[in-house]
Amino acid sequence: MSTSTTTQPAVKMVTLTINDQSVTVPKGTTVLQAALGAGIHIPTFCWHPKLKSVGACRICYVEIEKMPKLQVSCATEATDGMVVKTESDIVKRGRKAVLEFILANHPLDCPTCDKGGECDLQNLTFAHGLDDSRFDFLKRRHIVPGVPSTFDDLRIGPEIMLNRNRCILCYKCVRSNKEAFGEYDIGAFERGNAMEINAAPGEQVANPFSGNLVEICPVGALTNSDWRYKIRVWLTQTTPSIDIFNSSGSNILFYKEDHKNRIFRTISRRNDEIDDGWITDVARYGYQLVHSPDRLQKPLMKKGSKQVPVEWEEAVAFVARRLAEIDDTKGCVCIGGLASPTLDLDSLHSFSKFMRKVIGTNNLDFRIDYRSLPEKPDSAFSTLSSQPFTIAEIDTSDVIFVFGSDLVKEHPNEYLRIRKARNFGRPLVYSVNSFNVKSADVADREFIYAPGTEEVFINGLCLAAIEENPGLSGADGLKRKISPADLNSAAKTCGVSAEDLKALARTLINGKKISFIVGDQVSLSRDREVIAAALCNLNRLVGITSRGQMAALARYADSIGAEKLGLIPNPHPDVKRALTDLWGGFPEMAGYHTEGMFSQMLKGELDAMVILGANPVAMYPDHEAVAETFEKLDFLVVADLFETETTAMADVVLPLASWTEFAGRYVNLEGRIQKAERAIKPLYESKPAYAILADIAAAARKPLFSSAREREEEIEKVLACTTVRPWPGDYLDVRPPAIDKDPAYPIMLIIGDDPHHRCYVTEKAASLVKFCSDAYIELSPELAEKFKVEDGDAVRVESKYGKLMAPVKVSRVLEGDVVFLPRNFSVTRANSLVSRKARIDWVRINKVSG
């Protein structure tokens, strides 16, 4: 969607002939890609469309006229006038010879190999009719010492099994790990006949993208322990779906068995515009939580002091009656609702209509873990977060600026994109954050600003841009609105030197196509309005969006959908108008957002809450305050997959169906609507959120929709509104608020997702728990030395608001006085350490002796 004003240099085209077919491709294309593009299949083992070619396996042989020998098509560039044959006798003989060499060592254990049925080597061998070998010596055999098995089954990661005997040494796993993921936990060791793929000595293959290595293995050398030996691939059916643990919505495919109503695995369904065929381990193993034995099976109702299982009819009737009672006695202003931004469009819109039309309240929100929410509809942050962003545009950007984001944890797909842009082009990449992040390994330079000085840093960038290019329009007007208004003091406050700021400003001024990504350090900040205002100023001054894209990226699978459907008290005026037209009215009350509802609850002025798929007691900042707030409620109904801290406080708990159990649509961070098909029937008695809301509405004799068609049409109409908010017409005031710091709490705490977990649900996925099962305190080597702690030692983390204990993990990336704590584990509630009012969460740590 971004408008690029630069014209791409004209690409030279070349025309060649493949199998008597004339093919025209851009110069630089390989013969293999030219053939694939023309629909001509050439077998490959080591080649991968998103990696550099190495020509290791030799199976992609083709015959090219005037070349004396067969050529590997993956590493031969197509040139004008080339005449290529891919199916001639000599090519077939060549392939057969390559297969014979590969099979010289490859075991013929297909009947017991889990790859059987979807193995490239098996298929090719079958196709070429090779039934005997001329090699009569023994095959090379790796045997694991001490393992009484002829299978060389080696566990090299929490979920990966390696069989070195089956490995054909195509290096695809090692290459993708290093090249595409920037991870170094698998390698190729020894040489010649002794060569083997293995985990780095003494380490495990446990990076956040490790599942992809199994998926791209052309033989059965790498297998997932979650899938192997459970079912043969030809007994399964597949269902297209999407990853709902991430805001980019990678495309995935579920393998399931209809008679068993069970999903067996997830693989990627390559979509070059979103995921390039790489999915995170969370997307790959996340499906397991659907089959967790902890799933809520029946509705629960509080009777006396205990929650007891009841039938749906009873629970639904009770919810409808209680809501009506509260409405009658206290008014609909005393009812509020929260819906998770990972729910599908149907559920979100049903929720909006249920709250606004059936109950008549405007107290609703989808922002379940954001710390600061503006009252005004036209906030600077709304502008920034509503901007269009296209993932694939990263590929061709020449300046990529990542601001305040720990990309691998927040936006893994975009991290891989930037990595690819680096591998195949020469973009300038900058990572700017308040602490060191892993994703900075793709950056030309990493800048660390002082905690809580995001807006000062951006002001500094503006001032540096003015110094670099005094001709920029409105420079004086800007200087009057910001403080500090001189470059040197801004540089001093944010801790990035004036020289560096100038160099950064220069790249932003000179960049031809810029991708500017704003992350959680801004989105979740108490002062995100000020920071967003500074970013609006920067864009106005330098004109980033006129040469690219700049946005605070959405964090959840359907955040943009929720925004577009108007799931906030004060939606975009167009959305509000559309809803009013559809429903013939809109609640007149102003309505409270998440934060506002919580304070109303605390005051006793909000008595009932409807919560769909969210767990604020565990996820919203300041655990104690939130728990106290929820205790004040008269009536709480929560629908979720599992029992959580929030359902424990509920009067009625309803079992929610997961995204695999019904067809749903989700809007990714680009605004792209994608569908996740129904893979299995809802387990136990669970129901999708839209069905639950329809049931309650029907019980209240106020039906939500006359038909599914009506619901869909309403959604179409609301989504048709443009919710992109225009950039402000003038520079905005940016006065940095004071940062409170108590010398007794000298260390900055960062709370976020572990790379193998998302939010509070993934600890129910067995495979993900194998990667990480407990909270930890990740701290810099300096801090580890200072407190004399090593991996696994227990430390106490203490803030003004709470304390907790967790084992230490010495970080490979963090530097200085900063610790990271994952928020994904119910036994270690990270939100108990933080307050809603602080900009930076300061803590102190102590070693727990003994």
Binding site: K178, Y184, D185, I186, G187, A188, F189, E190, R191, A200, P201, G202, E203
Partner: protein, 158 residues
């Protein structure tokens, strides 16, 4: 730390001379081998840290080069070439003679920890076959008498 300060400083100096840091791995392995006499996982980790390259790439390079012993050896590592030229001129019987003389089998170390005997691929000195390398030095045009003398001299030096 197994590596001493001098080794680390030298590795860092060498690594800084290449356009890509990765190219510093092989010199670093050689420096480590010269200091320690063999290589292991711990040393790979220290090299990775010293010249700021991924640990796995150090391990890959080290295991690729069979010339780096991965276990402690005797003070003198006798590497007899067993490739074609040396083999034709009696490398096999030379190994047998050494085994007899030292009282060990190929791949073993003498009890006094003085000699380790292995045979290796071509050392690029076919014109002077049969030959062997002991630690960093070549011994060429070998005969049994020459071997006796060499071993005696080394024993005297030790």
């Amino acid at each position: 730390m197994i590596l001493n300060k001098e080794s680390v400083a030298l590795m860092q100096k060498k690594a800084s001379q290449y356009p890509r840091r990765k190219s510093g791995i092989l010199p670093a392995l050689t420096i480590a081998y010269r200091q320690v006499g063999h290589l292991n996982d711990q040393i790979y980790r220290e090299i990775a840290k010293a010249i700021n390259v991924p640990y796995v790439e150090v391990a890959e390079a080290a295991t690729f080069y069979t010339m780096f012993p991965k276990q402690p050896t005797g003070k003198y590592l006798i590497q007899v070439c067993h490739n074609i030229s040396c083999a034709l001129l009696g490398a096999d019987s030379l190994v047998e003679y050494l085994e007899q003389k030292l009282g060990i089998k190929k791949g073993e170390t003498t009890k006094d920890n003085l000699f380790t005997l292995i045979s290796v691929e071509c050392l690029g000195s076919c014109a002077t076959a049969p030959m062997m390398q002991i630690n960093m030095d070549y011994y060429e045009n070998l005969t049994r008498a020459k071997v006796d003398k060499i071993l005696e001299e080394l024993r005297a030096k030790a």
